[in-house]
Amino acid sequence: MTWAALRYRPAQALLLAVLTALVVGCAAFAPLYERALAQSLLRDGLSRMPPAATAIELTTSREQGARVRAERVRDIFPTSLAGVYGPGVERWSGRVFVTGSQGVSTVTMWGSPTPCDGLVLDAGRCPQAPFEVLASTAEARLQGWAPGAVISAVEARGIASGPAFASPVTVVGTYTQDELSAGPWAGLRLGGRAGTMSAGLAPTPLMDALVTSDGTFAPDEQASSFVPGAPGWFQVAVSVTYPLNRDAISLESLDGIPGALSALGDEAARELPRIAVSSAVGDLADELAEGRRQVLVIVPLLMAQLALLGVVVLGLVAESAVEQRRPEAALSRLRGGGASGARRLLVAELGAAATVGAPLGLLGALGVTTLVRARWLAPGVPAELPWPTFAAAGLGLILAWAAIIIAVGRVVREPVADLLRRVPSRQRGRRMGLVDAGVVGVSVAGVVALASGNLAGPLALATPALVALAVGIVLAHLLTPAATLIGRRSLDRGRLTATLTAVQIARRPAVRRIVTIITVAAALATFAVNALVVGQHNRELRARVETGAAVVLTTDSDDPAEVQTALRQVDPAATKATPVAWIRQGSSDSITTMAVIPEEFARVADLAVDPAAFDLRPLQVAGTLPPVITGTRLSVTIGSSAIEELDEVGDAPQRAGEGPIFAVRLGKPGGAEQTLSLDPIPLTSSVPVVFTAEVDCPQGCSLLAIGVDRVGLDYRVLRGRFTITELRGDAGPPAAIGRPDTWIGSGDKNADVLAPYAVPGDLGSPTAVALDLLSARTGVRVTAKGAVGNLPAFVVGSLPPGTTSGGTFQGAGLDGIAVQFQPVGTLPYTPGGPSNVAIVSLRALLDRASTLAPVVGRLQVYLADSSFEAPVRDALGAQGISVTTTVRESDRQALYDGSASAWGLRLAVVVGLLAIVMAALVLVLVVTTAWRPRSRDYAALRMSGVPLAVLRRASALEQGTVVVVAGVAGILCGLLASRLALPMVPLFTRPSATFLADLRPAWSAVGGAAALVLGLLGVVAIVVGTRLVSRAIPARLRERL
């Protein structure tokens, strides 16, 4: 009987099956996609990490006299990791002094049980016995070593006393290292040093590594103790590197690695000598874990809402189907089957249709996952069927059955007499059902909680759909009375089309269903598309902000001028390339200096966010250097003085006749400052007076301030002027103190009140200056402009510790020496840099130092266009400058586009489309299931004289009005949902310290989604409406079945 019932209404059965398939498919897809995505993250992560990064390296060296044994290292490697890690590769090392043709070099001697693996033997043979070595072919050529040559190697160790271990080594062959990734030397650059010198003040000749067998470092070859003179190696190290078996690693085994590593580290620390454990595979595990956590947010956020929509649609379709089966339910009750019999009859039929859809949904989910694996995810993701898929599919089917049972239950409990009515009684008025009211209540509560930050977890993820559901329900209940009112008014005004449209909308119970569903579908489509585009936009922005330019080349040069020369060869106008210097300071909370050429930087850098803020013109103000004195003895010549004593009221002046003490403040290299108080200046003198003092300025000290000090209980007010005709150190010329505009005075000389001041005066000489002063109890001084914030700087982030009350702070110059920076503004972020940065003029720093300090300094080239990379590389290479690292915006964006968040958000496309398809299905279904009575209505209207054209317009308008009203409401709900829920969506695997996500709506995408929703559904609505009228033939009126 169930099968017969299904065949009787095949379209309805098919629709129920399809909708159930959609619900089940959405539910099943979530765990399938999550698993596939995790596999993709694993493969993508592995592809980005070189083998050395994922390997586990155990290293130990001699400690407290304990000899190093490789077996001890191998013994502690956990067996639990044996399945995913290959056999350990052993590598020994020791350092020796070798005398070559250019002098003594410190050479690393590397040993391995298989020393020739990964090397090309150019001459001779592979070392077998201890102290047989291979030299690099380039080094052997340079040193004149042929196979058989014996060279002296003395252990290079820190203990100065006593003879070091020395053993002659025999060169038995020469090698070239072909690949950095092969053999025991993976990740190790053995050559490339022959004929070069080390950097620094005292360069020494460098030498390529010597390669030997592990026997050279065997425990028997190690010294028995650290007593000087004891034979054998004092200091050797061995590392055993276990490479990750990338074919064997799985998600589950990767999960176990961090724990095993931690336990390994604990055990290694207890060994003697201690064993160090290093591996970056934990980072991969952490990244993967974070990615999976994010996927667990994003995928349910999208799929759960789609599934919710599917259940709502299924429920409403089931309601519609059950309404059509009222006579059958009545018959069952009439024949004594009771409500339970009627329920069994209907649930069997509708439930069977739904159950047929379940495996289809599961297959569909598998199919979509396969497609996604092939098109979106990293290559090599296996096809898997995790068990939660079946549980989710089962849950989807249960929800479908629940929707059907609820719809059936409501009808079969009605009195038999009501079921038998040919025209069921309709609820009139605006009364909202209990279920509807409950949904609205939950949704409002959810929105309030979400907006106030008190809601998280699965319910928060479903809130966008609930919002739309609530709005749709309320709108549906309001639409009927509104349409009734409009219908009446239109009738009064004689507008037939409008009347028919409004009345049809008001009298059709199906309108409520359509409004609700279209609202939710439009909201879902809008939210999904907006989330997708906002995610994409932010990934692009972050890539641009973090990179700073289309391409950023890090060079090995320490000479900005040299780099600039190279760039000007290919970019004379400086529109495509510009140098950028980075200098960091020692402590972690200190500020990093970023030195740029302001006008070039503004043209070349990619100022992705808030470009208007990057007006760097204030940096172009040339900094003024303070005067400098050099020597160990300071002498100051006071040319003349005319200072008057002004008594304090009522008190006899103390120290009468004594002038103020001449004082200077000096700044030393390294940033230390010193204030010197010399001798009292005569109150009145026209004869030069010389003051001297010992100073420590052999390299030069900056003259930061000159003025006067007061000593003791001296309450006099002193006012007047004195001149300094010369101020110098004994090892340098007179300081250039003559220009008044290079000094910053204090106070106001022309004030009406007696307030302290110190103002420089022009004497017409570059080395002489006058000082007008008023001093009351305390000293006054003028300060060199070069000392007070001489270097203007834009600050990104907060001011560093030690910032003065005047706002100046210390930053690093090119040579690493401290420079005072004066903030002239703040910037929202550092293009291509961290968050705690002072951006200054490179030219201003070059005034102080010409080369970058090693270790703390880094010189980069920012390129505006990736197509310019090759010419710039060539130009740099022509100057002997190598590029050590390259960062491209496109690579960074590809990295973010391959993140869990990006892949998760791509689902939005699927979700949006399916939501619209569901809404269109509902439109078609609701009209087609009731097409007979509707077309009879229209036939009756035709019989009574209403023109066909009016009927067509009214029918199309009826459907179209509902679509537009509900669609617009849904789009607005989607925007609201974006505002509420997007902050919950993780856009990146790792948060950024510099980049603030821009969650504003993507209006163009929203507009496109709106157009698609309204356009597609509008077309469907008009087509079904006009088709309905075409079936409105008078013969329809005689139909009974």
């Binding site: 006579p327 059958e328 024949r335 019999g341 009195p415 038998l420």
Partner: protein
């Protein structure tokens, strides 16, 4: 016949009232109906539209609750029965044929399967039911037992509906306009089937009809007028029925002559007849 022998159930109503609510008002569909139908009798219910015939039928089927009065079908006092008891009653004791043959059948299965379906309730309540073929043969459509319902003529479909109604050989068969929209031949066939069922199974039959020819073919008719029993017809003779409260509804032609408010004297004659003598001026106080 392999079916168990059944006897019909008597139908008795006393002062039966049914009030329903419509358009904000309470309306009395039945205003005190006293009816007795003997076991195994065939009775037709006549009367104008809205008189309460279908309501009475529905009450007898336990589909509505009386507002007042009693209604007994055999030993079953319907007003006292709860829903599960009514389900059992409808499954085993009463068969209902709704107006419009298509409303009595599941359109997607054959007549045979419809009869099976109708018998489910009786089986669940432990009642022995006849074979579906026997039921279909009784009403005369056994050859069409497995034919799709859409291929049956209106008369055949009505017979199928009848078969469904008597599927469990109930004690009472309630049929609402079973011959409406049928041609004469089909009508006669259906009536013959009903009589056959009554004869073979002993089912008491209550038929609502507008058709005077159908009424004429029934041994007894009861006319319902304004929610009350207005008269009876037996063997072609029309009778007025004295109701429980002593009122005597006049036939329509008499009512024309003696409109409401007319003063009459009821005078017994020596031969046992009663004469109604209206007053000359004919009217009581205004």
């Amino acid at each position: 016949m392999s079916a168990p022998t059944r006897t019909g159930l008597a139908i008795t109503t006393h002062g039966l009232v049914h009030i329903y609510h419509a358009d904000g008002h309470d309306l009395a569909a039945l205003s005190g109906v006293d009816l007795r139908v003997a076991s195994g009798e065939i009775v037709g219910l006549l009367g104008p539209s809205g008189a309460g015939k279908s309501t009475l039928l529905t009450l007898c089927g336990g589909l509505l609750r009386p507002s007042a009065g009693t209604i007994r079908i055999g030993p079953n006092d319907l007003a006292q029965m709860d829903e599960s008891a009514l389900d059992r009653f409808r499954a085993t004791e009463v068969g209902i044929v709704l107006q419009g043959a298509d409303r009595n059948v599941l359109p997607y299965v054959t007549a045979r399967r419809n009869v099976d379906f109708a018998q489910r309730g009786a089986r669940q309540h432990g009642r022995e039911v006849p074979d579906a073929s026997e039921v279909l043969d009784l009403v005369g459509i056994l050859p069409l037992a497995n034919a799709p319902l859409a291929t049956l003529t209106p008369g055949q479909l009505q017979l199928a509906a009848l078969a469904v109604g008597i599927a469990a050989y109930p004690g009472v068969l309630l049929a609402d306009e079973p011959t409406s929209q049928l041609d004469h031949a089909a009508r006669d066939t259906v009536l013959a089937a009903i009589r056959e069922v009554n004869a073979q199974v002993g089912t008491t039959v209550l038929i609502v009809t507008h058709d005077p020819q159908v009424a004429a073919a029934l041994p007894r008719t009861v006319t319902i007028r304004d929610g009350r029993v207005g008269g009876e017809g037996r063997s072609g003779q029309e009778y007025a029925v004295v109701s429980a409260d002593g009122s005597l509804p006049l036939p329509p032609d008499a009512l024309d002559r003696l409109p409401p408010g007319t003063l009459v004297r009821v005078h017994p004659e020596s031969d046992g007849r009663w004469i109604i003598i209206p007053e000359e001026d004919g009217h009581g106080p205004a």
